[in-house]
Point group: C3
Chain length 367, copies 3
């Protein structure tokens, strides 16, 4: 009689640490992961260290201006190369602090101090990590055989944000926090607006469709014509007015819609608004804890203009994120009840969760 309800993922997928470990191996270490803005590394030898799933990855820029990524580990006896989270290599050499083994910015071993033997520098080069840049964002992939890079012309999905000058924007505000919930709960919360009337009254005022618990097909990025901001609303801000100039490259429909979603599971989604962009990325800490980083991006001119302020956009985003944070943690805490083996998805409101679960199941079955 309740056959209209589809089943969600098994409850254990949200708290079992063995499943989380399998997800690292089969999913997180196989996908492209957002790790920061390309502009963070402006000069040759500037570096940044990020951590994901117990892996420290060292990002730097070589002499040819290319992004390079390595495991933050020396080939000699496994020492950490960089103990600071950011800095700059002097002289174009990455030198291990323990015994001074030196590597080039391209990862080749240059010198084994106090050893006369001829060395094969390639054979003892730094452990490489695949990396790419798309729209000003840096992504890494920890597998040996990564899937195609993001944003290829062959994939029309990325064209959703083609008219946004994403690679030229700069981060005007960033908020990092940890949620006590599984990472998939964060995705599920993002992928449905069934909770919007109850939890996001301010957002529902801006986007009337959300009052009806309906939304864009977020995961595939196909915007329905009804999923637009209300008459008179310009953007997602506290008063619904744009904080500054509309990006001039947008089409009238893109301006009118007020938002477009680009979803890059497992660890990032991007929301383009007419006047700014907000991108959220996250990393699991363990099966029941997820680190979130939310970034608000603006044009450099706007941020530098003394008469303008991004505050109304930031404040609105923080408001909605805070509401979602509470919901995600509430969801997690109920998941471990012994008789609760699986939940249900409501159609059509939670159809996107069904698609997301398909993606998840396919990723987990893939070796």
């Amino acid at each position: 009689m309740n056959a209209f309800l589809q089943k969600s993922l098994p409850a254990a997928a949200y708290f079992d640490s063995a499943i989380m470990e399998a997800e690292w191996q089969k999913l997180w270490f196989k996908h492209w992961l957002y790790v920061g803005r390309r502009s963070e590394l402006a000069e040759t030898g500037e570096y940044k260290v990020i951590e994901i799933g117990g892996q420290q990855v060292l990002l730097t820029q070589n002499e040819r201006g290319e992004l390079k990524a390595y495991h933050n580990t020396c080939r000699h006896r496994g020492s950490e190369l960089c103990s600071e989270l950011e800095g700059k290599f002097s002289g174009g050499r990455i030198v291990c602090p323990y015994h001074r083994w030196a590597y080039s910015l391209d990862g080749a071993l240059l010198n084994i101090p106090f050893v006369d033997a001829q060395i094969n520098g390639q054979e003892l080069g730094l452990y490489p990590v695949h990396s790419q840049v798309w729209s000003g964002n840096m992504y890494i992939n920890l597998s040996n055989t990564p899937p195609p890079e993001l944003g290829q012309e062959a994939d029309p999905y990325f064209s959703l944000l083609d008219n946004w000058p994403l690679d030229q924007l700069v981060v005007g505000h960033r908020h990092d926090y940890a949620l006590k919930c599984n990472w998939k709960i964060v995705w599920e919360n993002y992928l449905e607006c069934y909770h919007c009337p109850g939890l996001h009254p301010e957002l529902c005022e801006l986007v009337p469709l959300y009052k009806e618990t309906l939304a864009t097909d977020v995961l595939d990025g196909v915007s329905g014509t009804k999923d637009t901001v209300a008459e008179g609303v310009e953007s997602w801000t506290m008063d619904g007015k744009a904080i500054g100039p509309i990006f001039p490259s947008l089409t009238p429909d893109e301006v009118k819609a007020g938002h477009v979603y680009l979803s890059l599971p497992p660890n990032q989604w991007i929301v383009g608004h007419p006047d700014y962009v907000r991108q959220v990325s996250f990393m699991p800490m363990d099966a029941q804890t997820t680190h979130i980083a939310s970034e608000w991006l603006f044009s450099e001119e706007f941020l530098e203009c003394p008469d303008s302020s991004p505050d109304r956009a930031i404040e609105f985003g923080e408001l909605v994120l805070g509401q979602d944070a509470l919901a995600c943690e509430i969801n997690q805490r109920g998941m471990t009840a012994r008789p609760h083996k699986v939940g249900f998805l409501v159609a059509p409101q939670e159809d996107d969760l069904g698609k997301y679960h398909e993606w998840y199941r396919a990723a987990m079955e893939h070796k």
Copy 2:
């Protein structure tokens, strides 16, 4: 030559987390567990949330004044229903804070918001938990097929407290604390008075038999005639005098004895004194940590009388509990020595521990 000593439980039973997990499944989730006084839920829709073994249980009172218990989890996508430890449901509905699914106080699903389809509310009702009330105490049972309820007329054991007005008493003092020891060590400490002369000098003054390390057959509740308070002592208080009126329903022998024990393993025992009742309950936090709650119960008239005070009873109980707390933690810390595979029981002082171990072994072998 030391054959008079019987063996205790294997040492690992006191610290191995795999054994604790088996105890949850085979023992704790199969037995009736004390979770509070019935009077805590006085009105329709008042609720309380308790946690045991990672399970949150929601206790409430329905429109017919009946106690109802459910897992604190929504059937939709597994959210926690109540995030506060106590409160009151308004309008007789239990509403999930995430997507507003609404349930009756009897657990039936009433409404799936924004969904037109006909729903079968019983099929998607809250996950039920068995509950019962005995002598003003609430008990739950997390199995699907619980054993008979406590306090049935068929079981003469409970008649030990028949003459105490337990259901009318109120909690005048409650002390919650955590001991760094396995829950079975708390039981063993309670079940023998072999430690009394060394650790409880004040108690030994009140009950002369305890100076000889002997005591009532506590587990079975059969009071020996010698296990009474001393001549001139009335109750377990700092000066041995009753704090107020003797319960009028007691027999002269019950008054003279000064105490009677009712043991309800795994998580509660009750001690009736002529003028008050003290009940101790506990919940394991992990294999080596146990949460204790000790409650002192008095008649409402006594507590409301401006000229009387329960302090001498409370102070005495806290004194003895504190002495036992130290002993339990000392016992735990020695248990992990590598050559210590098993301890010994001294007869007759520790005969009750042997009976308790029989109960435990039977419970653990039962699937």
Copy 3:
């Protein structure tokens, strides 16, 4: 082409908790372990409790002035005997605080209180732990069949320190701290001077050979003739001058060398200088944490002399230890990179590590 590099231990040996557990059973519980100076227990019945690998060991001195060691656990129901880390047993009896079972300082059960039966005190004696004293140091062994005692005449290795009055020295300074690294990383750091030029500039000034990354064959204790302090240097102190009188029992070569190493894996090494001795011992806390205790030993006359001070020796030792502490933690943090399966050893600088790894592999394969 890089065949001159030998492989180190597998990376997992430095962080896998299952390997650490195997090391406890096969290695740490089979070897003699330093646990303090014999002079800490000066009187009959004085005791000290140490903890290693979850085992509490009670050290005391019996009526005949002998060192005795037991598990800190009562045979009755497994209680901890001593809750203080040090103290003195009164009346020559070790009495359990729970039920007053009493044992002699030789570990025999003397009395079961309130029990009339004849007891066999040997059968219920304290669980013994093997112990020995060498050069004023106490060592324990937690196996039932320990290897030969340290310092036997049959083993010429210990003669390295024959001319030092180690048993008469007293601890003038002790520093306890925890490093976030595996215990084997501490050994490897100690066993090579390949890191010396980069990390120990002050030490390199005192010992010129170290500037060339070469050192004594530390593990076997065979001093090369070149491994001596520089011309004009007397000892390892801030200014290279001895802090006080040279030990008169040393040979001219021993005085000239400035240092001699005695390595007692898994948990201690001793460095004899002409004017003082420093010994470092350590205990794993878990696979990635190691507790270190560094002791500086001086003659009693020197410490009591108002005109002399050990400060320059202590300060120098702390300086070098601090440099090594940073290096050990850096090494640990890089070890868990997924592609890092094994590191490499540089010859001849790290030959001693290869010998140490042979010792380790042999110990781990031995049941």
